[in-house]
Symmetry: C2
Subunit: 381 residues, 2 copies
C-alpha cells in the first residue's frame, strides 16, 4: 500500500517511519518542483506525480501551504485526506476565522482588514494592542505586524498601503492576555471516530516552538473535555479525516482557539514515545481507514526542539528515556534540525531530566530549557 | 553518518527505521548479488560495495551466514562490528561449542563428528536420544537429523556416509530434557559497557519461533543474573560489540546455552514497544560508540510472529498497545512476514490480550497463540 504526502520535510519523514511497520510506503512530493521523492533521502523516486497519485491508496499533506492547484488535482482522485476545504482553512486565516465563528468556537476578537480605511476605528474596536497577521502566504517574508499603542498606527497604515489587501487581507486580532499556550492534537477517522491526545503546553521563543510538555501541568478532566469538545465540533464540521492540531490560549478555565493546523504538528511529536500510538501512525491509520490507535499515555513527556544547531554532545543519549529524532537537514539559522523526546513518571522528575539535559545542550540554542526544568521541578508530582 | 549492513531482510529494515531518528542512514548489502540496496525498498542504491564500505562509519550484519570472503573484506576497514570471529562463532557450531567450552559455559553434552566411525560408541557416550546438527551451511536443505532410539543408527550412518564430514562436521548433541526455551538479548559497547534485556520465553512450532514473552513468567533476579553473567562472559571473551542473542534451555534453576546469534534476534523484537530502547537502536548505538540506551521495561510484552500469511483482519489494530511490524515481503509458506507486539501491565492481562487477538488471526497460521493466551491468563499477575 502506498500513501503520497505533499511536502517532503521532517513530517513526511516521520510519517514514512511510522508507516513502514504497517506495511505502508509513504512517498513525498517536493512541491517546489512537483517531483516525487523519498521522504528520508529526498532523492527523486523516478515516479511521475500523476503515477504516484494513481498508485496511492491515500493522499495527504505535511503542511497547509500546498499550492491550491496541486490540492485540487490531488482531490480529483477522491483519495485526499483531510479534504481540500480543511487544508485551505488551515492555510487561510479568513476561512479559519469563518470556520471558528460559524461553529461558535471561542477565538480571539478580530477584524478582517481588506482596506486601509478600516484602520480608522480599530483602536475603538480592538484596543491599542493589536496583532495584524497576513491571512495567507503572499507577503514575502512578512506575516505579522504588532501595534503596541495607538501611536504606532500611522506607520502601520503606511506599510499596509503597499499591500494588496483585497487579494490577501489581514486579520487584526486583539492581543489576548492569556495564561499559557496549549494545543490539542487529535484524529478523526473516516467513520467519524475521534481520539484526542492529552493537552500539551507550548513554550515559544522568537516565534518558534521550543518546548512542549504533555500533559499540561495541572490538567483537569474539565479542561481536557472542553478542548476535546472544541476538537470534535471542528473536526465534525469539516468532515475532517486525519490528525488535526488546534492551538489554544488558556485564560483561567476558558479556552480560545488561536489557530488550527490541518496536519500532524510539532506540538504532537511527544506522542512518539509518550503515547501508545504516535500522531504519525495515527494519521496514517486515519487516512487508510484503519482503526485509530489507543492514545493512552506512557509517560509524562517533554519535546525539546533542536533549532539551528547540530554540534552538541550526543552523550545526552545516556539519560534513560531520552530519545533523539533527527531530520537529516543542512543546518541553518532558526531551522528545526530535530527534536528530543524526554519521558518521566511525573512532571517533577521530568523537570529533573530536563535539568540534566541542560548539561549537554548549548544554552544559546536551548534558551527555554533551564527555566522550564526549574518550573517543572517545582511541581508536586 | 552511514552504517552498512550485510543482509537485506527485515532485520536490516528495522535497523534502518531505528537509525534514521539518530541521524544515521543504514544501507544493506544483498549478499546474493553483492549490491548495495535500500533496506526497505530493496532497490539498488547505485553505490558500489567498495564505496559503501568507504562511506560507512560502521559495518555490521543482520545474519551470521554472510560469505566469509565478504566478512574479511569488510573487516579490512576496521569498521566491522561485531568482529569476524564473533560472527563466525555464530555461523559455525564447532567454533561456537569451543567458545562455550573454553569459557566454562554450561551447554548441551555433545561430540563433534568428522568421521562416521565416531558413531560406533555414540549411544554409550550420549545416550539413545541424539540430535545431529550440521556445524555450518553446506548440506543444502539438510541441517538436522534426529536419533530417537539406538535402532535409528544404521540408517543415519548410511546417510552420513554421503556427507563430507571432514569439511562440514556434525555436532551430535544429547537431547536435553528442559523446562523451557528462553533467550537473553543484550548489547556490549565499544567501551565494554553491557546492557541485557529481560529474559524472553520462546515458543517454537515446527522449528520456527512463533511467540516470545518477556519477561519470562516467574522470572527471579537470580535467574536473570545467571543469564547476564553468561552473556558478560561470552561477550567479553569475544570482545563483542553490538547486540548478541544467547538462546538457552532452562532446567530448574540451571541454564544451558543452546546457541548464540551474533546479531539482533527475533526473540528481541518485543523491545520495540516493550523497552525504553529497542534492540535495533541499541545495536546501532553500540556499533557507533554512542552510549547504550536504557533497557528499562515499559510493559510485559509478547511478540507474535506472522508466518506464511498476509490476509487477516487488520482490525486487531484497535486493541490498545498492539503494534504491527510488517516486513513488506512476498508471501511464502513458512516465511516470516511480520510480527505483532503486544503490551500489557501483567502476564495475566497479556494473556487476555492474546486471547482477544485470536479473534482476528487465523488459527492455522497462529497455532501457538491460544494455548499461550490460556497459560498466561492463569498467571497470578
Amino acid at each position: 500500500m502506498k500513501v503520497l504526502v505533499y511536502g517532503s520535510g521532517q513530517l513526511a519523514q516521520m510519517m514514512y517511519l511510522a508507516a513502514v511497520p504497517l506495511g505502508v510506503i509513504v512517498s513525498a512530493v517536493d512541491v517546489a518542483t512537483d517531483t516525487v521523492v523519498h521522504p528520508v533521502s529526498k532523492e527523486e523516486t523516478g515516479v511521475s506525480l500523476q503515477d504516484a497519485i494513481k498508485e496511492a491508496v491515500a493522499i495527504t499533506v505535511e503542511f497547509e501551504h500546498v499550492p491550491e492547484h496541486l490540492l485540487l488535482e490531488a482531490d480529483k482522485s477522491s483519495k485526499l485526506f483531510p479534504n481540500v476545504a480543511s487544508i485551505l482553512a488551515g492555510a487561510d486565516r479568513v476561512r479559519e476565522k469563518a470556520l471558528l465563528t460559524n461553529n461558535n468556537i471561542p477565538n480571539c476578537q478580530h477584524l478582517i482588514i481588506s482596506q486601509v480605511d478600516q484602520l480608522d476605528d480599530i483602536v475603538e474596536q480592538l484596543g491599542e494592542k493589536v496583532i495584524f497577521k497576513a491571512s495567507r502566504d503572499g507577503y514575502d517574508g512578512y506575516g505579522q505586524w504588532r501595534m503596541g499603542q495607538a501611536s504606532d498606527l500611522p506607520k502601520l497604515r503606511d506599510e499596509f498601503l503597499n499591500l494588496d489587501l483585497q487579494s490577501v487581507p489581514l486579520i487584526a486580532e486583539r492581543m489576548m492576555q492569556f495564561d499559557r499556550e496549549i494545543s490539542l492534537v487529535g484524529a478523526r477517522s473516516k467513520q467519524g471516530e475521534i481520539a484526542c491526545f492529552s493537552l500539551a503546553e507550548n513554550l515559544h521563543h522568537e516565534g518558534q516552538l521550543h518546548v512542549s510538555v504533555a500533559p499540561i501541568t495541572g490538567l483537569t478532566d474539565e479542561l481536557q473535555q472542553k478542548a476535546n469538545a472544541i476538537f470534535e465540533t471542528l473536526a465534525t464540521a469539516m468532515d475532517y479525516v486525519g490528525v488535526l492540531a488546534v492551538e489554544l490560549f488558556q485564560c483561567g478555565n476558558e479556552l480560545f482557539v488561536n489557530e488550527i493546523a490541518p496536519r500532524v504538528h510539532n506540538s504532537g511529536h511527544w506522542t512518539q514515545q509518550g503515547c501508545d500510538t504516535s500522531q504519525f501512525e495515527q494519521h496514517i491509520r486515519a487516512c487508510l481507514g484503519l482503526p485509530l490507535g489507543s492514545i493512552e499515555l506512557r509517560d509524562v513527556s517533554a519535546m525539546v526542539n533542536v533549532i539551528g544547531c547540530k554540534n552538541f554532545d550526543r552523550d545526552f543519549m545516556e539519560i534513560p528515556n531520552v530519545h533523539l529524532h533527527w531530520y537529516g537537514k543542512e543546518v541553518r539559522v532558526k531551522r528545526k534540525m530535530g527534536h528530543i523526546n524526554v519521558g518521566a513518571k511525573s512532571h517533577k522528575t521530568l523537570g529533573t531530566k530536563l535539568q540534566k539535559l541542560t548539561d549537554y545542550l548549548p544554552v544559546e540554542h536551548f534558551p527555554m530549557l533551564e527555566a522550564e526544568a526549574l518550573r517543572l521541578q517545582k511541581c508536586k508530582n
